[in-house]
């Protein structure tokens, strides 16, 4: 994680891949107890990954990583259940062992349609995210193509991902 915070993309990718596996099995286990399927677990997993990414500045390097990640995972689970009308409100504290088990990776797709959600963002944010995060261009290159300054591109990516993680959340059903 610390390497990822310093901008090491390979280390960061590895971290997210491992987190995906852990969190997938965690969410599938929890949601299956309340009769929710794997698709919902995948939605929740993706929402949580996006949250971990956009809020990774809240991780304090002096602390352990697992409790930080686990607190987000649990927070997102409770939030998800609460806002999708579940009576399963009291999620007990789990031990870390459940988080470290591996689930099979069978490629379930979430119901989240990234391109549709992206279309809701301002054009600048769409462009910045598309160039830098999807097409893999450098920030400088993206700035040249879109006619924005480099810092504007960075800010657009940052705000765009935050906005995505906001629209990805389950809506209030009350």
């Amino acid at each position: 994680m610390t390497a990822g915070l310093d901008g090491d993309a390979a280390a960061y990718r590895m971290l997210l891949e491992r987190l995906s596996q852990h969190l997938r099995s965690y969410y599938r286990g929890r949601l299956s107890r309340v009769g929710r399927g794997d698709f919902e677990a995948e939605d929740l997993l993706q929402e949580t990954l996006l949250a971990i990414h956009t809020r990774r500045h809240t991780y304090d390097r002096a602390e352990f990583f697992t409790p930080w990640m686990h607190a987000i995972a649990r927070y997102k689970l409770i939030d998800y259940l609460r806002h999708t009308n579940s009576s399963y409100r009291d999620v007990p504290l789990e031990d870390a062992g459940e988080l470290t088990s591996h689930a099979d990776h069978d490629g379930v797709e979430s119901s989240i349609d990234l391109r549709r959600l992206m279309a809701r963002l301002p054009v600048k944010m769409q462009q910045a995210i598309k160039y830098v995060k999807l097409d893999g261009l450098s920030v400088a290159e993206a700035a040249r193509r879109s006619g924005m300054t480099e810092s504007a591109v960075k800010i657009s990516i940052h705000r765009g991902l935050k906005a995505l993680s906001a629209v990805i959340r389950p809506e209030h059903k009350t």
């Binding site: 990822g4 949250a51 500045h57 991780y59 993680s165």
Partner: protein, 213 residues
């Protein structure tokens, strides 16, 4: 969307992250909030005019010290509670320290005064003004601190909201102290503490709605 695609997207061109962003954002919000609270009190209520006598100055400094201590302790805890799992270490009970202190000092000052004066010492002439002013002045600082905490990732929304309310109450009380001429410690112990706690309670109630992410 496949989760692999999301992971790909997120780990492409990863930005370096600023480690001190959480504390800095909250501190910035508090600084602006303090200016707003002090300004609001001076402009709307007016500073006290008798501040140049030693006794009045002493009381004003005491009130300011109490209010600043409340806000400073709450800030310290909020930098933890604004982060996931931030509540794991230590107890939050220390935020009560300034309140215990002021109640202790108030008790001493009551013990040294004749019982006939107690009524005036408790109520002063402006308890109603204090009761209204502190929560009203606290609104803008509260909004600023809540905005700052929303940039972080609190997982205990009720406590984080309460701490935001506590900070706003402390800042507001500091502003109000520039105006308040009720120079008695029991007055401060009851009305300042009471209104700050009211702000804290409001923060705890609003926290889960305002801080959700």
């Amino acid at each position: 969307m496949k989760t692999d695609d999301l992971v790909n997207m997120l780990s492409t061109n990863v930005e370096v992250v600023d480690q001190r962003l959480v504390s800095r954002t909250i501190a910035g919000a508090i600084a602006v909030g303090a200016v707003v609270a002090l300004g609001a009190s001076l402009v709307m209520l007016g500073g006290r005019t008798d501040v140049w006598t030693a006794e009045a100055l002493g009381f004003m400094i005491a009130k300011l010290a109490f209010a600043v201590a409340v806000a400073a302790l709450a800030f310290f805890y909020l930098t933890r509670f604004a982060r996931p799992a931030g509540s794991r270490r230590g107890s939050i009970a220390l935020v009560a320290l300034p309140f215990v202190g002021i109640v202790g000092l108030a008790a001493i000052s009551l013990a040294n005064a004749p019982a006939g004066h107690w009524q005036v010492m408790f109520m002063g002439n402006e308890w109603l003004e204090c009761l209204l002013s502190i929560p009203i002045i606290a609104i803008v600082p509260f909004a600023l601190v809540v905005w700052a905490v929303r940039q972080a990732a609190p997982t205990d929304l009720r406590r984080a909201g309460a701490l935001a309310g506590l900070i706003a109450g402390g800042l507001s009380a500091a502003g109000y102290a520039l105006h308040c001429t009720a120079d008695s410690l029991p007055f401060v112990a009851i009305w300042y503490s009471g209104t700050i706690m009211l702000c804290t309670l409001a923060g705890a109630v609003l926290g889960p709605r305002l801080l959700r992410w």
